[in-house]
């Protein structure tokens, strides 16, 4: 036992030293070795101060300017080799190549954005500060805020937080235009607690000492600013490592104090009541806010499911009937056709739909035989149709076989030919009988439209999943489930109803 532990420890040491060694020797993969290009945008007071000149900046100072030099130092690049390149904020969230190594532009890290670009770890938390009026009791936990008269500036994170997360007893006062009105309200005492970005509140409180009850708390939004890089940039681990180091050795804290006048750790973070296990579960899957917010997004995807379902079901109804008829053709001449039909149903009843989806996709993308559907949606419909035609063929076949041979014989004895006997006598009876099992297969098909998500059709499940990762809440998945259930229940009930009717009729015939 001891020996194994020692060996493991030795291995671990070797591994870490090896990594450290390689990190030290290799120069960071910047666009130009030994140089660093940092993206910025103006105006961004206190983050970037200076004068814009062409696409660079004259006499730059500010929090992000200082930070970029510190990161450069961590990367082993001297301040003289750091260039600044103006990159309008509107462009940095787009995918594709970037003309800079990284950009520092107060960019909030979100999963949706991270699908297109890469973020370093956070260097600045976008927390909300609480400024209280004089005489207002100091809140120590989030629920203390609930009974206060809150206020916020229109369309800010702070207002969003009050309305959706805090949900106080009294409606918050909302001030549009500028933050001045909100600050005045706190000073006058008509607003007891203002929620706004920490740096803004701190600088205002410093400007007017004695006017307010103080910046007493901050609320953790779990959001932070990150350096923006091109998607999958090789530089990302280096920048993140540098930022983590700067944060650990308090460099970033000092920079914040220098440019914003406070130490983030000195403002107490308000905690919410911890949710119990059940509460956590309910919140994750059944949060009413997230539910409402996810509905339009999931619905936009669900329309694809409905379209796929309708088209595939129409095709399956017709094709499966054809295959079933071919399987039942009599005579030696029809043998090859029967064989093809049998092989088809056997193969596709046995192949997982997921596999067929990927096969159709490959077929389509490789443009084999010039057959490319040109759309993922069509590929999905094709795969669903191929697989479900095989299932439904068997359903039809069972129905055809359940019609007593004497029916076909009676039709033939009247002089109807094979096709007429099939069309007017056998099929109408067969189809009537197979409606319930057929609808059951269609319920399966409706649900399996969700599988098409794996070849990249942004249908309901994909949208639900996007929502979950964007908002860290699984209620979007619940919404998708509800949509599918709502679609299925009527069909399931109708099927049950048909089966009951049939039983009643059969019992009546026995009597």
């Amino acid at each position: 036992m001891r020996r194994i532990a020692l060996a493991a420890a030795a291995l671990a040491v070797c591994a870490t030293t090896a990594v450290a060694a390689s990190a030290q020797t290799a120069a960071p993969p910047t666009k130009q070795a030994g140089k660093l290009v940092v993206g910025f945008d103006l105006p961004a007071p206190a983050f970037w101060n200076g004068r814009a000149s062409g696409n660079t900046i004259k006499h730059p100072t500010g929090f992000e300017h200082s930070l970029s030099l510190d990161i450069a130092k961590q990367l082993g690049i001297s301040a003289a080799n750091v260039q600044f390149l103006r990159a309008p904020f509107s462009t940095i969230l787009l995918g594709g190549k970037k003309p800079y190594d990284f950009a520092l532009e107060e960019t909030t890290i979100t999963p949706a954005r991270a699908r297109v670009i890469s973020f370093s770890s956070s260097y600045f938390s976008a927390n909300q500060g609480v400024l209280i009026a004089k005489g207002t009791p100091k809140p120590t936990k989030i629920s203390d805020l609930k009974s206060l008269q809150t206020c916020a500036q229109a369309s800010t994170t702070g207002l969003d937080w009050i309305q959706h997360k805090l949900r106080p007893a009294k409606k918050p006062h909302v001030y549009s235009a500028s933050s001045t009105a909100a600050f005045d309200a706190v000073q006058a005492g008509t607003c007891q607690a203002l929620i706004l970005d920490v740096p803004i509140i701190v600088s205002q409180a410093k400007k007017k000492p004695g006017a307010y009850g103080g910046v007493v708390a901050q609320i953790n939004t779990h959001e932070g600013y990150g350096a923006v890089m091109a998607k999958n940039s090789p530089l990302k681990p280096y920048v993140s490592k540098a930022i983590n180091a700067l944060s650990k050795n308090a460099t970033i804290g000092k920079l914040i104090f220098r440019w914003f006048g406070y130490y983030p750790y000195k403002i107490p973070v308000l905690k919410s009541r911890r949710r119990s296990g059940v509460g956590q579960l309910l919140h994750t899957f059944f949060s009413p806010l997230d539910f409402l917010r996810a509905v339009p997004q999931v619905w936009s995807g669900f329309q694809f499911n409905i379209k796929m379902m309708v088209v595939a079901e129409a095709l399956v109804l017709v094709l499966a009937l054809l295959v079933a008829i071919v399987r039942g053709l009599p005579g030696r001449a029809a043998l090859p056709f029967r064989a093809i039909a049998i092989v088809y149903t056997d193969v596709f009843r046995g192949t997982p739909l997921v596999l067929v989806l990927f096969m159709v996709l490959s077929f389509s993308t490789l443009n084999i035989l010039g057959l490319s559907s040109g759309s993922l949606f069509t590929d999905g419909v094709i795969a669903l149709t191929i697989v479900y035609t095989a299932y439904v063929t068997e359903v039809y076949r069972a129905g055809i076989e359940s019609v007593h041979p004497s029916q076909r014989m009676a039709a033939r004895s009247l002089g109807l030919n094979y096709a007429q006997a099939l069309r007017f006598v056998v099929l109408p009876q067969a189809i009537r009988r197979v409606v319930p099992p057929l609808l059951n297969d269609f319920i399966g098909l409706q649900k399996d439209t969700a599988l098409v998500t794996i070849i990249g059709v942004t249908e309901a499940v994909a949208q639900a999943n996007f929502y979950s990762t964007d908002y860290f809440n699984a209620s979007g998945l619940t919404v998708a489930a509800v949509f599918f259930i709502i679609l299925t229940i009527p069909l399931a009930r109708f099927t049950d109803h048909l089966i009951k009717e049939r039983e009643k009729r059969e019992r009546a015939q026995l009597v």
């Binding site: 014989m409 002089g415 015939q509």
Partner: protein, 256 residues
Amino acid sequence: MNTVSAEANGHFVSLQSVTKRFDDLEVLHGIDLDVDLHQVVCIIGASGSGKSTLLRCVNLLERVDAGTIVVDGQKITGTKVDVNTLRQKIGIVFQSYNLFPHMTVLQNVTLAPIRARKLSKTEARARARELLVLIGLEEKADEYPDRLSGGQQQRVAIARALAMNPTLMLLDEITSALDPQLIGEVLDLVRSLADEGMTMIVATHEMGFAREVADKVCFLDAGVIREEGPPAQIFSSPREERTRQFLERVLEAGRM
């Protein structure tokens, strides 16, 4: 025309040495049977003797293995026979009615005239209504078969066959599945067909009926026609021992 007539020896229906085999089981062993125009021939015999098989061969629902069948001057056992056209001339009615349960009475009767004979719907319906009057079920035209009694269903089945204006009717134990009180109404119908001169081959267990309607009775025994003759002779003084035994058994069962 001459050669054809020679084959049939002037009979409307003529079976010569007809043999039928199901796999290893030979069911008919060289059947010879002649039926003249407007004649009613009854086939009697024990269960499994091959009555149904014989009728089905005449309708080409079964292919014979050897021998020839001539109907109305046409050799139907050859290779180049259009079975669909032939069957339009030969009506067959089964023991189990086999009405189409998803169609009304009227639709049952008009299906084949419209689809196979290509009559217009109006024509077919007019003819169907005449037939429904004939069978006494004109008011049931729009009912579905499962709302009819067995006797009514069987009468509809007969009307359905008649709707094709057949020249020959094959009736295969059409009263066997019926309750005794319903048998009469079906037999009355057959009797009126006979009176109108319809040529019929009737497989039956109703000996009283056979005696009354048949011009000729054939006793089928284990795939051969053991004895044939006018009903009076067969039922009163059968020549063959096997025939006598069969008739005794029928008598015991109370069917005469």
